[in-house]
């Protein structure tokens, strides 16, 4: 309501000091008028009559005395039909619309509607006059792509409301009212298909938050089988540069078993966003058979875009994720990279001259990170359906050293840790998730005892490998050497996966189970091998056949043939299954439910 104003009194980078009159609130949005443009900004500190604001644009050209207008609103996301398939900047401006208005460059002060105000959506009412509703209840639906998009009573309405009237089935824009509600005192307000929600506040219009137990398939063997992620869970991927964080995120965004994927490209390369933009419209979602883009939202604040909106972008992303979760959908939010977000906090903290914490990150870094990941969750909604937000964040630790503050603060709050290692990526072992350091608290698609059996071999093989570096091959016993070769085999044919090959990348749960059983047969058997030379040759041949097998389509003729060849090798090596492995292979996949 209040149109407060102020005047600029100082500029330092994107931090501007403003002398104001009247009342303003923390995190309020304001605009600085400069050289014919209005620059969106957010209040981040108030002292006496001076507010410090972070400007979401380049600040060149601002001078003391330039006017500032306060809006009274917090930084908000607009929620409604039409979000899917969009490419937004961190402040939810659709980038294609900005391109139409401003051309090649992101000229400052140019903003656009988040949702197309002209587009008509076919609304079907679900309530009638007299119904009693509260925030988060559904008044009707519109079809959005392959989804039924629910139209909600805005999440910020407190108390109970009575429906006075509701629009008939028909086509409406997101700005036209579709229902009129009355509060307990009888004051009326009209509801449109879109509303705003302050991005830094979690949406909590659900009945109950449940424990994340359902596995979220990613088709990446190493993850699904050994370090799984649950729907509604959180995980992080720290790794030095070049270890394949972004490729991993990209693969996950294509194959993850969820309804909607939100990609937050936060302070990373623009080229990667372009890759997604080019590739996704051409790919189809195996679940719906429609373009992958129809289930994707991209929030892109690349590294050269202003730093303050980088901070906003992660909150905008998670708010959109929560919105679709409210419709009973499973949403995956991929944030790449949370370190850039943390650095944005650090830059502002430095300009505010706050007392720095470790590596000059602000003292509130940990609570910010925890607050962000805690917005993930598996919830039961008021109507009994369930929805989830899963958050996967990459971390880019300085120097690849996981001891640094952002990695450590993240590890405290996530449920799975996929640590990438430089040694693995240097040796082109992709995905470069290091099985020796990674962990997950969630349940995977492979029975736990089988996964443990495999992990044990990896650890044992690694120990023998390091020992061999000291005592040499001749100082290693044949049986140890064979375990070493088995660990290598497991790594080469199962942990490593060529995600650029369509068949290899699309490794479904049934296939993972089937193939791993074959592998357990090989790993859990003794072979008649006379010496190390013979052992190495034998496992090389198995590896070769296995790799060929991986490249055949599941349950195809070629698949059967390649499997037959492995069986042939097994027989030729006179394989005898150990009792431990024999027991493992009994009794299907049921894992105490």
């Amino acid at each position: 309501m209040t149109e407060n104003t102020g005047k600029v009194t100082g500029i330092n980078g994107n931090l501007v000091s403003v002398e104001f009159s009247g009342n303003i609130s923390m995190n309020e949005i304001c605009y600085v008028d400069v050289e014919g443009a209005s620059l969106k900004s957010e209040v981040i500190r108030i002292r006496g009559n001076t507010a410090q604001i972070q400007v979401y644009e380049m600040t060149g050209g601002i001078r003391c005395g330039d006017p500032v207008r306060f809006t009274g609103d917090m930084l908000s996301a607009e929620l409604g039909p039409g979000l899917l398939g969009q490419i937004y900047d961190g402040l939810q401006n659709p980038l294609p619309v900005l391109a139409e208005q401003a051309g090649w460059f992101l000229e400052r002060g140019v903003y656009a509607d988040s949702l197309d105000p002209e587009k008509k959506w076919t609304f079907t009412p679900l309530v009638k006059a007299g119904d009693r509703l509260r925030a988060g209840d559904c008044v009707g639906t519109v079809p959005e792509g392959s989804f039924v998009h629910k139209i909600f009573v805005p999440f910020d309405l407190l108390g109970r409301y009575t429906v006075r009237s509701v629009a008939e089935k028909g086509d409406y824009t997101v700005r036209e009212p579709v229902a009129v509600l009355a509060d307990e005192k009888g004051a009326e307000l009209s509801v449109t298909m879109s509303f705003k929600w302050p991005v830094k506040r979690p949406v909590k219009c659900y009945a109950e938050r449940l424990a994340p137990v359902e596995t979220m398939g990613t088709k990446i063997r190493l993850i699904d089988s050994f370090f799984p992620v649950a729907k509604g869970g959180t995980y992080c991927i720290p790794g030095p540069f070049g270890a394949g964080k972004t490729v991993l995120q990209h693969t996950t965004s294509k194959y993850a078993d969820v309804d909607i994927v939100i990609i937050a490209a936060c302070g990373e390369r623009a080229g990667e966003v372009v890759e997604t933009l080019t590739e996704f419209p051409k790919l189809t979602d195996p679940k719906t058979g429609r373009s992958l883009m129809e289930r994707t939202i991209i929030i892109c604040n690349t590294s050269s875009m202003p730093v303050a909106s980088r901070e906003a972008s992660v909150y905008t992303s998670v708010t959109l994720a929560e919105y679709y979760r409210q419709m009973g959908l499973h949403v995956l939010l991929l944030a790449d990279s949370t370190s850039r977000w943390a650095q944005a906090l650090r830059e502002m903290s430095g300009r505010l001259e706050e007392i720095p914490g470790e590596e000059a990150f602000p003292a509130y870094l940990e609570s910010c990170i925890a607050g962000f990941y805690e917005r993930a969750g598996y919830v039961r909604l008021a109507d009994g359906s369930v929805g989830s937000v899963t958050i996967g964040g990459t971390v880019s630790p300085a120097g690849g050293n996981f001891e640094e503050p952002v990695t450590q603060a993240t590890l405290k709050v996530v449920g799975a840790f996929h640590g990438l290692s430089r040694e693995r990526s240097d040796a082109r072992k992709y995905p470069a998730i290091d099985p020796l350091i990674s962990w997950s608290k969630y349940r995977g698609v492979i029975r736990q005892d089988k996964a443990d059996f495999c992990k044990k071999i990896i650890v044992h093989g690694d120990e023998i490998g390091s020992m061999m570096k000291v005592v040499g091959e001749e100082g290693t016993s044949l049986s140890d050497y064979i375990i070493y070769l088995k660990a290598e085999l497991l790594d080469a044919v199962y942990l490593q996966q060529n995600t650029f090959d369509l068949t290899e990348a699309n490794c479904t749960t049934p296939r993972q189970r089937y193939v791993l059983d074959k592998l357990i047969l090989l790993l859990g058997s003794d072979f008649a091998l006379a010496d190390k030379e013979e052992a190495r040759g034998f496992f090389n041949r198995i590896r070769q056949k296995f790799i060929d097998w991986n490249y055949t389509a599941f349950e195809s003729e070629a698949f059967g043939k390649a499997e037959g060849e492995i069986d042939g090798l097994y027989a030729a090596g006179a394989g005898r299954l150990s009792r431990e492995a024999g027991n493992l292979l009994k009794g299907g996949e049921a894992d105490g439910k």
Partner: protein, 432 residues
């Protein structure tokens, strides 16, 4: 308005002066008249009527009574075809004998390109260096650093790429360049006939520090303008560590809280702002960036190479006069190497994997362990690989390099020792 003159310098520290003035815009340029002549200065902080400026020529000899005239605009660049073949300093003044350029002034600082106006990098830039073309293909609009240490022939490598790469325009930005290196670039490009398509922005080691900070901006603004004229531009920067050190110096002078080893907290954003100028414009030209980054103490975790690595699309390691296959990575290579030849990707991966095994064997050998048959094969392979493919003087087209790769494998190994899928081997494994 823009030409107000002030002469109340309140403080002078390092390359930064503080002056009392009003009506001054953030990032505005000013001219300071000292007893040694004129210098440009740029506003980098305003607090009420206290305005801080970084003085391009440095503050030596600046007097508290010197006059400062604000120009009413930020850094500008005169853009035209006349730039080609010319050499400038960080302020945009000519270093050669040519005239100063003043027409068609364009702002140096531009907002970033709308990501939806970029197109996917998918054109290979051939260099005929196998370690680049075959193992880490350079792609148009890519940004890649060359990580190196002092003493390595990085400027020679850069010059060779400049001569051999297919680009319409070359922009060279030299920061903290030794004077003889500057002469080397100038003469090499001139002798190779490339000078006429080159623009140089040069800061030598003895020039003032603020100008060093301006080199990448000037070079990249020039490149961007040419790219908008439908030109494929290759920007060569050397050495970005000097640029970062210049930033550190200014930040410390202005009492900013340092984050890591004295570098300012926005080092990542500052570097990214420059590297992200690499672009392939929809319906127009492109900017490709190769930037030498020397690693102090050969330490890749030093803040400058570390932050750079997170920004760029891979990196080349130059070590012992060779581009190292480990760690060197062109992230965009998969955009093009599926289109080159179908064995390219698998062969490249297999050869690197085997080279990695070779390195383990060398280690084993150095520790005095006996070599088995497999080790002997690896040793033979590693030697061939280093001599025939890694050496920087090897000048081979991609296709010839691939054929040579298969030949080396066949010379050293049996088919099922390579880990390549059989289908490819049936086609490419050389017949005896």
């Amino acid at each position: 308005m823009g030409n107000k003159i002030f002469s109340r310098i309140e403080s002078i520290a390092g390359s930064v002066i503080t002056v009392r003035a009003t009506g001054v815009r953030y990032n505005e340029l000013a001219v300071i008249q000292t007893r040694f002549g004129k210098s440009l200065a740029e506003v980098n902080k305003i607090d009420g009527d206290l305005v801080s400026l970084q003085v391009f020529a440095g503050c030596q000899g600046v007097s508290t009574g010197d006059e400062i005239r604000f120009l009413g605009h930020g850094m500008q660049l005169s853009f035209s075809e006349d730039l080609l073949g010319r050499i400038f300093n960080g302020s945009g003044l000519p270093l050669d004998k040519g005239p100063a350029l003043t027409e068609n002034l364009q702002p140096v600082i531009r907002p970033s390109v709308n990501p939806t106006k970029r197109i996917l990098a998918n054109r290979m830039m051939r260099t005929n260096i196998p370690m680049i073309d075959m193992f880490n293909t350079l792609v148009v609009s890519q940004k890649l650093p060359i990580f190196s240490i002092s003493g390595e022939p990085y400027n020679q490598l850069l010059a060779r790429i400049a001569m051999q790469a297919e680009a319409d325009v070359i922009v060279l930005g030299g920061m903290g360049l030794k004077y003889d290196d500057f002469l080397y670039f100038r003469d090499t490009l001139a002798n190779g006939g490339a000078l006429a398509k080159t623009v140089m922005f040069i800061h030598t080691a003895s020039d003032p520090i603020v100008e060093c900070m301006k080199i990448p901006d000037m070079a990249l603004a020039t490149a961007e303008q040419f790219a908008l004229q439908d030109k494929d531009v290759l920007v060569l920067l050397t050495d970005m560590t000097n640029f970062a050190d210049a930033m550190k110096e200014i930040a410390i002078t202005q009492e900013q809280v340092p984050s890591n080893r004295g570098y300012p907290g926005d080092l990542y954003s500052q570097l990214a702002g420059r590297y992200e100028k690499a672009v392939d414009f929809e319906d127009s030209g492109s900017v490709t960036i190769l930037a030498v980054t020397t690693m102090p103490g050969d330490d890749v975790t030093h803040p400058v190479p570390d932050n750079t690595g997170y920004i760029t699309e891979g990196q080349y390691y130059l070590k012992g006069g060779r581009i190292e296959p480990f760690g060197s990575l062109s992230r965009l290579k998969q955009n093009v190497n599926s289109l080159t030849r179908k064995d390219h990707r698998s062969l490249m991966d297999a050869m690197i994997r085997l080279y990695s095994a070779y390195k383990d064997t060398v280690e084993k050998k150095n520790m005095g362990f006996s070599m088995n048959k497999w080790d002997e094969k690896l040793l033979k392979y590693g030697d061939l690989f280093e001599r025939k493919l890694m050496d920087l003087s090897v000048n081979l087209s991609l296709e010839d390099a691939l054929d040579l790769g298969w030949k080396i494998l066949a010379d050293c190994f049996d088919r099922d020792e390579t880990g390549i899928k059989s289908e490819l081997m049936d086609e490419f494994w050389p017949a005896e």
